[in-house]
C-alpha cells in the first residue's frame, strides 16, 4: 500500500516554528492512503501570520516589476503542464482520492487551467483591465489624464474557497500576485491539496514571492479565526454557496473591499441552422465535453442545453449523438465517485423520465447502462428552467424558437453565468444581446464552457481592476 503524506497548508518559512500542533486527516481507498497534515491554528497565529506576510510583501513583492511577476507565474504554469513534473504527479494522486473526481478529469482540468495561465494570457488580461501594465510598477504618463497615474493593489487579500474545484485557488493566487498583493487563502475541505502544491512551485521558482502567500485550512465556522483574518485584510474574495457567502459577508468589516463569487449555473443553446448532419458529431462531442468536465460540478457547466427545432437534425436525433459522445467520453475520462444521495437522485429522476416516455409523452431518456455515469433527458421546453442534479446529467429542452428561452431564464437571472451559444444565422447577435442584458457573464461556444480565458470578467466582475486603487498626478497648470 502506498502511503502519501501531504500538507493541507502553505506558510512563509518564518511561520513554521509557530505551528504548535498538526492533526492528520486520513483518506484511503484500496492501494493508496493519504495522510493530510493540518495545522491547528488560533487567533494569535493569524495575527503573527498577517503581520509577517505583509512585511514580506513590503520587502519584496510590492517592488517586484510586473514583468518579473509574469515570468514567475508563467514558469509555474509551464512546470505544471509537464506531465513528469513531480508535484503534478502528486496532485493527480491526492485530488482524485479526496474529491472523487477521476484522475483523467483532474488531469484534463489541470491542463486546461495551466494552458490558459501562460505569459501571453497574463499580458492580455493586464492590458484589458489596466491598459498599461506598467501602471502597477510606477507612475506612467496617461494621455487621457494628461498627467501620471499609478495603480496599487491591496496589501493583503484574504480569500475563502468553499468548493472542491482545484482551479479556483490557483487563479486567485495568480491574480493577487499580478496586483502585487500578499494573499492568504482558506481552502475547502472538499479539496485542500492543490493550492499548497502550487505555492511550492512558486517557491521553487522565486522563494521570496512565495513568502507573500499562505494557504490555511480549517473547518468552516471558526468564528474567531475568520473574524481576525477578515479584520486584517485589505480585500476579501469569497467563493462559495449563496448561503455561505451571505453568512461570511456579515463578518467582514464594511470598509474592506469585497468580491463575491457565489454559486452560479450555465446553459447552452444550439440554433436550427447548426442542427445539421455535417456538424452533428462534432457538436455532440462538444456538448458532451461541456457536461462532463469536472463532472458538471463547476459553475461553468451547463444544466440545460436548448436545441432548436426545425433544423435538418431533430433535437431527439441530436440527443442520440450526444449519448454516443457521452459514453465515449466516459470511457476516456470516467465520471468520478459520487455520494449515495447524488446517485439516488439520478436513479429517481431517470425513472420519472422513463415513465413519462412509456406513457407516451414527448420525452426521451438516454443513460449509461448500469451505473449513473451519464444521463440525457429530453423534453419539449417546459418554459421554466429546472436545474440538473449534475454529475453528468444533462437536460435537453427542444425549443421552437430561441427567443422563447430568455423569458424562462428571467426568474433565475441572478444565477446565470455561462452560456454556450451556436446559432449560425443572423439572429445570433440579437440573441446574444438579450442574454447579456439578462445577466449572462460569459458567452462562448459549445465545448469551451469549462475553459474560460484568463481574461474573462469572472461572474461579470473585472477580477484585477476591481482590486486596484489608483493615484493620479495632474500636470501642474
Amino acid at each position: 500500500m502506498e502511503h502519501i503524506e501531504v500538507e493541507a497548508y502553505y506558510l512563509p518559512s518564518q511561520l513554521k516554528g509557530h505551528i504548535k500542533r498538526l492533526r492528520t486527516e486520513v483518506y484511503g481507498e484500496g492501494e493508496v492512503r493519504i495522510d493530510l497534515k493540518i495545522p491547528s491554528i488560533d487567533d494569535t497565529f493569524i495575527k503573527i501570520l498577517t503581520q509577517q506576510i505583509r512585511k514580506n510583501r513590503e520587502q519584496y513583492l510590492a517592488h517586484l516589476p510586473i514583468e518579473k511577476i509574469v515570468h514567475v507565474l508563467d514558469e509555474a504554469s509551464r512546470r505544471w503542464l509537464d506531465k513528469d513534473y513531480p508535484l503534478r504527479r502528486l496532485a493527480l494522486k491526492t485530488i482524485p482520492l479526496i474529491t472523487g473526481f477521476s484522475p483523467e478529469v483532474v488531469e484534463a482540468s489541470i491542463d486546461a487551467e495551466m494552458e490558459s495561465s501562460l505569459r501571453e494570457d497574463m499580458w492580455r488580461v493586464l492590458s484589458l483591465e489596466i491598459g498599461n501594465p506598467l501602471y502597477l510598477d510606477d507612475f506612467q504618463y496617461s494621455p487621457h489624464l494628461d498627467g501620471y497615474s499609478r495603480a496599487f493593489g491591496p496589501e493583503l487579500i484574504v480569500s475563502i474557497f468553499s468548493e472542491n474545484i482545484p482551479a479556483l485557488p490557483h487563479l486567485l493566487f495568480m491574480r493577487s500576485a499580478l496586483v502585487k498583493s500578499a494573499c492568504i487563502g482558506k481552502v475547502a475541505r472538499g479539496e485542500p491539496t492543490f493550492a499548497p502544491l502550487y505555492l511550492k512551485t512558486i517557491e521553487e521558482i522565486d522563494p521570496k514571492m512565495a513568502q507573500c502567500m499562505a494557504v490555511l485550512y480549517w473547518q468552516g465556522g471558526e468564528e474567531e479565526i475568520e473574524a481576525t483574518l477578515f479584520g486584517q485584510a485589505d480585500a476579501v474574495v469569497l467563493f462559495g454557496g449563496v448561503e455561505t457567502c451571505r453568512s461570511l459577508l456579515e463578518k467582514i468589516p464594511r470598509r474592506i473591499k469585497t468580491l463575491v463569487h457565489g454559486h452560479r449555473l450555465g446553459f447552452g443553446v444550439i440554433g436550427r441552422k447548426r442542427m445539421n448532419h455535417q456538424e452533428l458529431e462534432r457538436l455532440a462531442e462538444e456538448v458532451a465535453l461541456d457536461c462532463s468536465m469536472f463532472d458538471q460540478q463547476a459553475c461553468l457547466a451547463p444544466h440545460v442545453y436548448y436545441l432548436e427545432e426545425d433544423g435538418v437534425v431533430s433535437p431527439k436525433e441530436f440527443c442520440q449523438a450526444i449519448a454516443v459522445a457521452m459514453e465515449r467520453l466516459n470511457q476516456r475520462m470516467p465520471r468520478g465517485r459520487i455520494s449515495s444521495g447524488e446517485a439516488s437522485t439520478i436513479h429517481q429522476l431517470r425513472a420519472v423520465y422513463e415513465f413519462r416516455e412509456l406513457k407516451g409523452e414527448d420525452v426521451l431518456m438516454l443513460a449509461s447502462s448500469s451505473r449513473t455515469d451519464w444521463t440525457i433527458v429530453y423534453e419539449k421546453d417546459p418554459g421554466t428552467f429546472s436545474p440538473s442534479p449534475l454529475n453528468r446529467f444533462i437536460r435537453i429542452y427542444g425549443v421552437e424558437d430561441i427567443f422563447q428561452i430568455p423569458p424562462a431564464l428571467k426568474p433565475i437571472n441572478f444565477f446565470l453565468q455561462n452560456a454556450a451559444v451556436a446559432i449560425g444565422d443572423d439572429r445570433e447577435n440579437e440573441f446574444i444581446r438579450i442574454l447579456g442584458e439578462l445577466g449572462v457573464a460569459r458567452i462562448t461556444s459549445p465545448g469551451k464552457m469549462s475553459i474560460p480565458s484568463m481574461m474573462w470578467h469572472h461572474d461579470g466582475i473585472s477580477p484585477l481592476s476591481s482590486l486596484l486603487r489608483w493615484c493620479d498626478i495632474e500636470k501642474k497648470g
Partner: protein, 374 residues
C-alpha cells in the same frame, strides 16, 4: 358500489389470511408465492408498469423469486398514478412533498387495498405497540382523516385509535392547529385517573410539544404502561433530535419508560408499517436493541446506490421495500432512504445528504432553499 374483480378479491383474501397469521410466522415460501401472484396481477393490470418490466426483460413467468420483481422508484408517484383497478379507487394518499409542494407523490387505494392496510395495522400494532394487550387512551398529535384526507398517517392513526383505543381517544390537531391545551388536559386527567396513554404522531410534533412543556415548566408522570409512537422524522419542522435524546425527553417530560417509546417508519408508498422492536423485545424479556422489523408480509433489501444491486448484510445503501399489502399499486418500492440490515431487522438513516464541499455550481437543493427563503 360494484365489487372488485373476482381474481383481485381472491388474492386479497389469501394475503389477508397470510397477514392474520401474525408477525411471528415463518413462511418464506408462502411469502414468495403470494409476492409472485401480486406481481403477476400488477404486471397484467398496470400497463405502464408492465412496459417498465418488459424493458428490463422481466415477466412473471420468467422469475421465481420476489427478489427479481422490479421496484418502482418513489419519485415516479409524483408524475403518475399506479392503480391495479383505477376505476375502483376510493382513496388517494399524498406524500408530504418535502421540497416542491406541487410535486407530491400520489398513491391510490381501492377498497381491498384499504382492507389490507387495516389488517397490517391491526397485526403489526398488536405485536409491536401493544404486545401487552393493554387498552390505552390514544392521543394523536396529527389531524384526523376528515381534516387531512390525503395523509396516510392520519388514516393509520385513526384505525389504530378505533381498533386499540379507549373511548376517550382523540386527535389533537384541529382547524386552529395543534390543540396543546386539550392535550395538557387529557394528560393531566390520565395522571389523575391512572388511565395509561398512547401518545402518537409525527416526531416533530413531539419535539415541539416537549419544547412548549419545557418553556412552561410542565412535567407529567403518566401511568405506567403509557407509551409513545412517533413517526416521520423532523423535516425542518422542529429541531433535529437524536433517537436517544428523544427517548430521554419522553421519560423526562411524560414519565414514559424508555422501552415504551416506539418509533415507526411509514411511507405513503408502502401500505404496511415498520415498527421498531423496542417494546416487543422488552415485553418478551429479550435484551435486544430496537431495530426496524419487517413483518412477515414484507421484505426490505439494501441496495448499492450506484448499481441498485443488493448489498451484503451490514453495508449501508438505499432501502428497497416489498409489501404484499401494496397489492393495489406496486409491490416493490425503491426509496431514497439510506439504511442497513442489522440483527433481526434494519436501520434507517433517512434521506441521504450530500457529503462535504462540492463544486461551485448552483445545486437543486440550494435553489430550493433560496426560493423558500425569499
Amino acid at each position: 358500489m360494484t365489487e372488485l374483480p373476482k381474481e383481485v378479491l381472491a388474492l386479497d383474501q389469501k394475503i389477508i389470511n397470510f397477514i392474520r397469521k401474525g408477525v411471528d410466522q415463518q413462511d418464506p415460501e408462502g411469502f414468495n408465492k403470494l409476492a409472485l401472484e401480486v406481481f403477476a396481477l400488477q404486471f397484467k393490470s398496470i400497463s405502464l408498469y408492465r412496459r417498465y418490466c418488459e424493458k428490463r426483460g422481466i415477466k412473471p413467468e420468467k422469475i421465481s423469486s420476489w427478489e427479481d420483481v422490479p421496484a418502482l422508484p418513489t419519485d415516479v408517484f409524483k408524475v403518475m398514478e399506479f392503480s391495479m383497478v383505477p376505476s375502483k379507487r376510493v382513496r388517494t394518499f399524498m406524500t408530504s412533498g418535502t421540497t416542491n409542494p406541487e410535486e407530491r407523490g400520489k398513491v391510490g387505494y381501492d377498497e381491498g387495498g384499504l382492507r389490507l392496510m387495516d389488517a397490517t395495522i391491526e397485526e403489526a400494532a398488536a405485536s409491536f405497540l401493544f404486545p401487552d394487550g393493554m387498552k390505552t387512551k390514544v392521543l394523536i398529535i396529527a389531524p384526523s382523516p376528515e381534516m387531512a384526507p390525503h395523509m396516510i398517517m392520519a388514516y393509520g392513526m385513526n384505525h389504530l385509535k378505533d381498533y386499540f383505543g379507549l373511548p376517550q381517544s382523540c386527535f389533537l390537531v384541529g382547524r386552529g392547529g395543534f390543540e396543546v391545551e386539550t392535550l395538557l388536559k387529557e394528560l393531566r386527567s390520565s395522571e389523575e385517573e391512572g388511565t395509561p396513554v398512547t401518545l402518537c404522531g409525527g416526531s416533530f410534533g413531539f419535539v415541539n410539544f416537549f419544547d412548549a412543556c419545557r418553556e412552561k415548566g410542565l412535567r407529567f408522570k403518566l401511568p405506567s404502561s403509557s407509551r409513545t409512537l412517533d413517526a416521520g422524522g423532523f423535516k425542518g419542522r422542529s429541531r433535529e433530535v437524536k433517537r436517544e435524546e428523544f427517548v430521554e425527553e419522553c421519560g423526562e417530560i411524560l414519565g414514559i419508560k424508555k422501552e415504551f417509546s416506539v418509533n415507526l417508519l411509514g411511507m405513503t408508498e408502502i401500505s404496511s408499517q415498520f415498527y421498531d422492536s423496542t417494546l416487543r423485545n422488552f415485553h418478551k424479556g429479550l435484551p435486544l436493541p430496537g431495530v426496524k422489523i419487517n413483518p412477515p408480509w414484507t421484505r426490505t433489501v439494501v441496495v448499492d446506490p450506484e448499481t441498485l444491486k443488493p448489498l451484503p448484510n451490514g453495508e449501508i445503501g438505499l432501502l428497497k421495500h416489498f409489501d404484499l399489502a401494496n397489492r393495489g399499486h406496486i409491490l416493490a418500492i425503491q426509496t431514497d432512504d439510506l439504511g442497513r440490515k442489522i440483527g433481526e431487522g434494519f436501520e434507517v438513516f433517512g434521506r441521504s445528504k450530500e457529503g462535504g464541499a462540492r463544486g461551485c455550481s448552483l445545486t437543486i437543493d440550494e435553489m430550493t432553499r433560496i426560493e423558500k427563503g425569499k
